[in-house]
Amino acid sequence: MDITSIFMNQFFLRALAGLILTAIASATVGTIIVSRGMTFLTAEVAHAALGGAALGVFINGLLGLGIDPFFTAIASGVVFGMLAGYGGKTGSPEKLEAAIGVSMAISMSIAVLFLGMIPSQDIPKVWGYLLGDILLLTLNDIIILSIVVVSTVIIFLFFQREFIYIAMDMEGAEALGYNVSFYHYLSIFISSLAIVVATKAVGSIMIYAVMIIPPVISLMLVKKFILASITSFVIVLVTGIVGLLISFYVNVAPSGVIGILISFLYLLLAFKRG
């Protein structure tokens, strides 16, 4: 397949759109999550999304409805994200971590439970949340992804200072009179939303590589929050396009290739720095 026909390929174009949106999610909420030290939130919310999707399919089968499982995935991701956020509202990283762990256990159990209850021919509808189906994104998916990502970016830009403040010094911010619990929940809310939509694109197994490692690499390279954000965007986009192209030539899953590329980049940098 020559390169121009790949770029004209509609699967590729939709995957590219999904990739750009994922890159934006990584650049915005990924940077917040890393700076708050709550990286496991990504895994937690992603698995909650998986469970939510399974629940959606289950309900559809039970009641004969046609709800898009994407919506139940989003709802479940946000609910479990906020649940973890509630446990960690004091800003203590240890408590947050414990709360995320507990919510993760619950959401994983729900995922396993409902995956076992839906008919086997429906399993592939949920599978995407585990492995990612960036090449199978529908126009509808892209629209939902765009709406979520654009709202996330607006909130991120508008409240960027507050997010940085609570990440840097939550107690100090509270003492100064900032409404820290509001900003805490808001940041968890937009993070959860963005994680779910990114999960739809790359899958819950790869979500960590795409949402967390790029901001970690960026914060190693540049010192300004907003520059770190832009760097993350570039990392996801470039490795993403390379990964997609490779997956078109060699028959491998694009999200796997992307994950390996990003991890490799991190190891290279960590190694260089000693």
Partner: protein, 263 residues
């Protein structure tokens, strides 16, 4: 009730049924340099947070310069600057000194809180007070303990409060920087006419600037001038009979080892 006092009347604080502060009554004068001492867990931080309206006493009344710390929290935070005890400044987020001080003034703006020229001027002015203007571009997590405290004092001072509360500001600060910090605080007290309430563990370096000492251990053990408070009996009462006491110039100091825990 004078308008220039922090008026505390029969205040008790409980956490999960445990009494942390028991029936505290006193008046702290807004123009004075007051120091709070007491053993670990005496409730010093709790006391300060109650004044700031960050903790709700289970009983009693607090009026800060005539205002209720809960109903008028926003006003209190404007006129009372505060440097908390445990500041867990994350080193993941790169934030420079100027931004950190701006945090103190941007709180009165609405998001996205873009700093104006005047805001930046005020921040630089506050940094000047603690002699940190040249550090404005430096990253906060790269500073020494003493330099960081100076920045946090500047952040508490940026809205020009009339009163400043500091909770163990010398933790993790070497002796020389501690002396510098004390000089800055004294200067702020005298030149900017800012009242001070400072929790310390080691009294000796600061004693010559102190107007009043509050010796706290769940209740008010003693409150008054250093000479009145720093007596053998009162210190033993607060710290226990085993505490070593150093007597110098008719003033007794409790000799405490490294009592600072880190969270």
């Amino acid at each position: 009730m004078a308008i220039d006092v922090i008026h505390i009347e029969n205040v008790s604080v409980e956490f999960n049924g445990a009494v942390i502060l028991n029936d505290i009554s006193l008046e702290i004068y807004g123009n004075e340099f007051t120091v709070v001492i007491g053993p670990n867990g005496a409730g010093k931080t709790t006391f300060i947070k109650s004044i700031l309206g960050l903790i709700h006493p289970s009983k009693g009344e607090i009026k800060v310069f005539g205002h209720n710390p809960f109903r008028e929290g926003e006003y209190i935070r404007k006129i009372v600057g505060y440097v908390p005890q445990y500041i867990r400044i994350s080193d993941v987020i790169p934030m420079n000194v100027l931004e950190t001080v701006l945090m103190g003034i941007l709180v009165k703006k609405k998001p996205p809180r873009i700093p104006s020229k005047t805001d930046i001027q005020s921040a630089l002015q506050a940094l000047k007070v603690v002699d940190m203007v040249e550090y404005r571009e430096r990253y906060i997590h790269e500073l020494s303990g003493g330099e960081r405290q100076r920045v946090l004092i500047a952040r508490a001072m940026v809205r020009k409060p009339k009163y400043l509360i500091l909770d163990e500001p010398f933790t993790g600060v070497d002796v020389k920087s501690q002396r510098e910090l004390i000089e800055f605080l004294h200067k702020i007290h005298v030149e900017n006419k800012v009242g001070m309430l400072i929790v310390v563990h080691d009294l000796a370096p600061i004693i010559r600037y102190v107007d009043k000492i509050l010796l706290l251990n769940k209740r008010v053990v003693a409150y008054g001038s250093p000479r009145d408070v720093l007596k053998k009996e009162t210190i033993k009462e607060a710290y226990g009979a085993e505490v070593e006491i150093l007597e110098h110039d008719k003033i007794c100091y409790p000799l405490l080892g490294d009592v600072h825990r880190h969270r």
